[in-house]
């Protein structure tokens, strides 16, 4: 019974949303209800995610596991941000500086580490992948894009050289479009599988 209820819910909601594309005026009240419910559920799920994180770190602190200082710092920072948000409100300059002056450097540092990681990985690309057409094409297009972006080659966009460069610059986009088309098709089939209840990983099967 529980399984049937889940399948029916998926089918009804999915078909209603799809039908709403064609029958907007007739189905708009139902669609509004669906969207409103969906928004509430997603927001609640977002809170659940934060709750998961907190519970994980609280458990770690209670059990006295290794390196609990990180969990303690996280919990304290969370509490400060939460309380400050309620007390100072997000419109407050102090609150804004408090959050951004921590968040921006941390995230920017991570991106810097990512840059070095990718730099090191690009050094070892051939060693990992070997001399394959994919790796050669990847290397070639990466070097070309970097050279163009660095401004070392500057030609007028209306000249022949500029047009050739523009053509070469757009070539990787062709491949990217192909990948996106394939992924869109895969997404379509995946959605149909869920609509037709062929895939029900959440249904206890």
């Amino acid at each position: 019974m529980k399984k049937v209820f889940g399948i029916l819910t998926v089918l009804l909601v999915g078909l209603t949303v799809l039908s709403g594309y064609f029958f907007q005026a007739q189905l708009s009240p139902v669609l509004a209800l669906i969207f409103q419910t969906g928004l509430v559920l997603f927001s609640a799920a977002g809170l659940i995610g934060i709750g998961y994180l907190l519970v994980l770190h609280i458990r770690r602190v209670i059990r006295g596991e290794k390196r609990i200082i990180q969990s303690v710092v996280l919990l304290i920072a969370f509490l400060i941000a939460l309380i400050a948000g309620f007390v100072l409100t997000p419109q407050s300059t102090l609150y804004r500086d408090l959050i951004l002056n921590v968040q921006i450097p941390v995230e920017a540092s991570l991106l810097a580490v990512l840059a070095v990681t990718l730099l090191y990985a690009s050094l070892r690309l051939i060693r990992v992948r070997g001399w394959t057409p994919m790796s050669i094409a990847f290397l070639g297009s990466a070097v070309f894009s970097l050279v163009l972006n660095s401004g070392l080659i500057q030609v007028s966009e209306t000249s022949l050289g500029g047009r050739i460069l523009a053509f070469l610059e757009r070539l990787p986009l062709v491949g990217a479009r192909g990948i996106l088309i394939g992924m869109a098709l895969g997404g379509l089939v995946m959605g149909l599988r869920y609509l037709l209840s062929l895939d029900r990983p959440y249904g206890g099967e």
């Binding site: 992924m183 895969g186 997404g187």
Partner: protein, 248 residues
Amino acid sequence: MNWALTGWVFIGLGIVLIIVLIWGIKVSPAFLRTLPFTKRLIESRAETVECGRYQQIFLGDNLLSQTYPGLGLSALGALPVFLDGETLVDGNSRVSSPSGEILVFAQQILQSRYQDGFSEPLAEDLVRIGPYGPTPISFIAGLLPALTRQPYGTLVLLGDYGPQASLAVKAVLDQGGRVFAAAGSITSQAALFLNVRDILLGEEVFRVSEVMLPDPQKTATILVEDILRVLLILLLVIGAGLTMVGVL
């Protein structure tokens, strides 16, 4: 006939083909293309369990994505494949995502795999599900220390995620683990291509559950995908040709 209607035609055709190929014509398993990714993933997971190391299964940053609408669902659909009996008993596995929606579904899937008798307070070694951070980059910031705290043998990346996943990849590779990525976004595919040997690109990212646990229904959907792809290619080529000659 506009492009939106063309899309609907594809959707309708997809539905019809799936129905015909699943409940009508029997599809030969030969259509299921084997990927070396599968064999290596199975070997790595077995080796990880045998060596007492950990597995990390990452389900992506978002359940819903405008550009990659099926990726989150695909990751959830592939999750049961990784929760086999050995993994459930071993317990040295972690499933994670910054997205609360994904975590809720994942928790339900995990509980259904453990089935009756699932009791977290009573069982010490369970597959654990949880986030390391609420946003994509904060998630990676939280994941990195976790990856170095225990010896990880396998890292599986599923769903929709960005290039920052390269940091997690490196952390696992540094300790001799292996990484398997069904690369989500275009940028993550480019970033992970550098150092992940076993990577699925494009529409292959949706086929993880199909290649790991093939069954006639999944084989049929693969065939449907192939048919639609061929039709789309023909449509594009014909459309480009007609545009060139000025008809369209």
